[in-house]
Symmetry: D2
Subunit: 343 residues, 4 copies
């Protein structure tokens, strides 16, 4: 059995969650997110982000969160703006467009949007009413390339959006990894202040399923639950989501799990850096993209699963390695050992 | 703490499922439903319905199943037909319409559609192309009123649909309860032969989440997974659904759980019948709708939670009682004791 | 060649319009409704309704107007409410649902909605967030049955809507006929005060194409043009619509044409009343629904085209007769002559 | 009054059309495109394209045609592919996405798609079912840059599409100008053979409104009228469209008008070429994009209206000049005179 670095959702969930499911199992609870676990988990999240005015909703997955948030905010003629690498653009089978909204794509080097990028889009959409109206800025943190936003970058983006009457939405499928990155200077509290809506990903950080949508902009809070129900995302046993987030948010487990994943990735990264390996992007989260020779890739493939991400030249390709809350030291050591022996 | 008869999703899940989650937790598995548990569960379902040509997909909940199936089958100008009590009409926040499709409503006495009803709809939709085209017949089994389809009824409906080039889709959120009802003469195998698509509800029969969509009509199978992904219903950890259905389908657990729920409801029903109580509809599944005096309702309310379903007259109302896979004998006895003492 | 009473759009347009098209033909004009004719016509309409704050937009037809207005006002989870005879429910191939919105249907006797009807709908949609939210009340004036709203009726409806935070939208495909009916006490100015949005139908009152959407509620005005463009309704040669409405609104031509149509219908109605004929609904506009014996219907069919609307009994049916701005005295006389000779 | 070269829809319509409207005005006709003019016009078009199996439908404008065709062909998870300059991508306010479908954009030099471009898109959309499925190839002829497809180019594209199970749809808003271009070797008959669907633009070639959608692929013909109605595009007085296309298709008027527009543009082009002017793209239709100094542009602006299309450098910009079926020799001479005097 090969060890997989393909993604951060290969395993089940953190044992605390299973224990809590077991412990709570026979309690009768109200349905549709009105259970006591969900209510407590929401409180805990609002405390963590230090915003009692926020609204919190739990849904099952990232694509679901993205399509619900975006379709609930935009008017029919308004559109989202995303980096070309954005998950909503390439990896969600047109889920956003299926709700009626275009996504404008911006090429970037590192998967991050800057005010200048968005200004360019605004400048090319002035032919009213013959073009869609850019209205929501979609960013991922960490991005699909493993990079993260620093506080100043997010502040500038947030300022720009507010000045231009745009909404800022952060896809946080890997938000834990972003804010626990060794180079990060952003807190959840910062993010709550700087975005209109963001979500806190559970699926890729130790939950079975679940993303916590956090609505900071009060004008988007009214009636939000209708959107969740209409899109088929309101679980009858909402307790399943509540119990998980309650466990994750207790005693900083969420952050510890993400930090572990990051650290395991950094161990491999550092081992490769020592060998002079070049990386496709300079990341400090749980995704790394080293460029390796096809020979090494073949050797690694015998013991590990991972994606070959991009062909570089005849002799080498970038691979993507993703670590998780559950990646063991053994797996890391085994991987590094092969590197040490072959690079 | 009052005991709740409000619904069949108040508790967690059957212990076997928790055990299987625990046991499988650290196994690394492929994502998005390609895990070994999902594959085995699908096989087991196909065996149970005795149709190797069927396609099986797991999603999280009933509204999600309904909107994905219906929107994947219909062309933009085609519509669904449903009994006016149908879940898609009244309880899904316009989820079907949000995918662009109208639902035509038919008044019924018992929540079940008959060929005659549908013929009436066809006859009133002949003004081509100024009206929507009725194309998919949506039925629930058991229905929202707790009633069930007998084999002959379903055969007639299925025949009618095929003759009229209509598709037949069965919402099986409570399908276990329907086929294990003491008066049922239908099997899953029958249903697989008589419908184009149906689903097997897990959420209301012992799972944490999960409905198994079964596509019998091969012309709807191609590319179906795209629809699941686009609607945000493809779980990264599809194993969560696979593990649950694997447990439920093993050793007829699914049927045993449903039968238990039915039997508990029948005990209350019989106790009430002995007292001469009238019921809103004549049901043999886990939903019963006794008409009780407001005095009795008040007394029952002190110890039990349930919905007052429909006001009958100044002195009495129908209540809805739903039992579940986990409803204890104690709860039933306590309830019957109050009836015996007060009716 | 039989004379047709099938509808009010069998002929071309009023000669003044053709003349204006001819006269203006070689003028170069700005596209997309920015031409001088459209601008003047909008001014004239705002004068006529005595509301300088209104916004006016021209589109091609009624279904188009309905779908643009409704989809631009409602949020995804909100729905429209309509009499069961409403054009949007039965005659537009699911155009509203195709934009994602449900329509709740209310049975009425005369095609008109009353506050009580809507209250009933509100009362049965309290299961938040599991049901759609009724938000827009759609009425037709004159209705699909030829009936009209009196001032008091519309005031009561308007009051009710404002108190309940509902929007009131009037489909005015035959609004000219409504307000020029001999029993009407409503003016366009009244309607502008009492509705959020309404439209003034051209197609059924002497134009080639064209409906003038009038937005009284200023909160719906911003960005409305985007919706028109997005739905494919923004004509490059918007002048075609502007020129027509400019001619129709000049010197009350619009009202004169509607009054003519009404009067021609009333002549037939009165001739039939004298013979003791019963009518399906009591109308004073250009649609009448007399109940006639099949013998008479056959005789009339030899010289006239019309729809047999509803079977009444073995011997008789209601037919629908529609007169237009162009229905000649000769046609009316010929029709009455047959009645006189055979009834 | 300045003469406008801003577009080809500044004037009314060809006088033959006005005459026919006048002549037919009092004829009573069936509604919704069942009038005799529409039927004759459809026959004439089928004769012209030499395909009796084709279905022809008339709608009002280009955006409407595009959104109806594309949404009627694609399944929810399928998408269109277009050159980045395609009208559906930039100039239709997200009309296609509003029907639920993504459009994938391809950068091109000349606004034309080549098999290689599409192969690249196919190659990057293999991550089933996580990405949309490219299924319909949208091309414009003439393109938004004034360029045209030659027969061999269209044959190659058509072959590629058929081999890859893709549908080919040609936006023919300016198709007349394309096939009457002096360098064109394509006929309408060729186009009917090589595309699944295309449309023949009237609005930009002498009609008041109107595009003729021609469906060559018989599998898309069934029920197509439902789509037209649902999108609000079925005119009650369909005669307005029928009469216009009947006149345009008679005696090759359609082609003569387009050829005239092309020739007027070529006169200006040649005058500019003699002066050594460079063009943004090498066009032989009614759109030309000369690069001129800002001084000359200012002088021309005193007498003519046109769009400044693209800034080239500090001293010069490309302008867009569009001629029409009605552009007079006088206007051309005046324009050339200014060039001769100032360049």
């Amino acid at each position: 059995m090969k060890f997989s670095f393909k993604n951060d959702y290969s395993e089940g969930c953190h044992p605390n969650i299973l224990e809590a499911l077991l412990y709570s199992n026979t309690n009768q609870q109200a349905g549709y997110g009105e259970d006591e676990y969900s209510l407590k988990a929401k409180d805990l999240i609002k405390k963590t982000i230090n915003n009692q005015e926020a609204d919190v909703y739990f849904v099952s997955g990232g694509t679901q969160a993205n399509l619900i948030v975006i379709s609930s905010i935009l008017r029919p003629y308004q559109c989202a703006v995303s980096a070309s690498t954005g998950h909503i653009l390439n990896n969600e089978t047109g889920a956003i467009e299926a709700t009626g909204h275009k996504i404008l794509s911006i090429e970037t080097e590192d998967g991050k949007l800057k005010p200048y990028d968005i200004q360019t889009v605004l400048d090319s959409h002035l032919n009213v009413p013959h073009q869609v109206m850019p209205k929501l800025v979609y960013i991922s943190n960490s991005t699909e390339l493993g990079t993260i936003y620093q506080r100043q970058e997010l502040e500038e983006l947030s300022d720009f959006c507010r000045k231009n009457n745009l909404y800022l939405f952060m896809d946080g499928a890997r938000l834990g990894h972003a804010i626990t990155s060794e180079i990060s200077d952003l807190s959840l509290e910062d993010i709550a202040k700087l975005t209109d809506v963001f979500y806190l990903g559970g699926t890729k950080n130790g939950a079975l399923i679940g993303e916590a949508i956090i609505i900071n902009n009060t004008s988007f809070q009214q009636d939000f639950a209708f959107n969740i129900k209409q899109k088929g995302a309101l679980l009858a046993k909402g307790r399943l989501l509540g119990i998980q987030f309650l466990e994750l948010m207790k005693n900083d487990l969420y952050f510890d799990l993400a930090k572990h994943a990051n650290q395991q990735a950094m161990k491999i990264k550092n081992a490769l850096l020592e060998k002079g390996t070049v990386f496709l992007s300079d990341t400090y989260t749980n995704q790394i993209f080293p460029v390796l020779s096809h020979d090494i890739i073949e050797i690694l493939s015998e013991k590990f699963e991972f994606y070959v991400w991009k062909n570089i030249d005849e002799k080498s390709s970038a691979i993507r390695l993703i670590t998780s809350w559950n990646t063991s030291d053994q797996a890391i050591q085994d991987f590094i050992k092969i590197i040490d022996e072959n690079l």
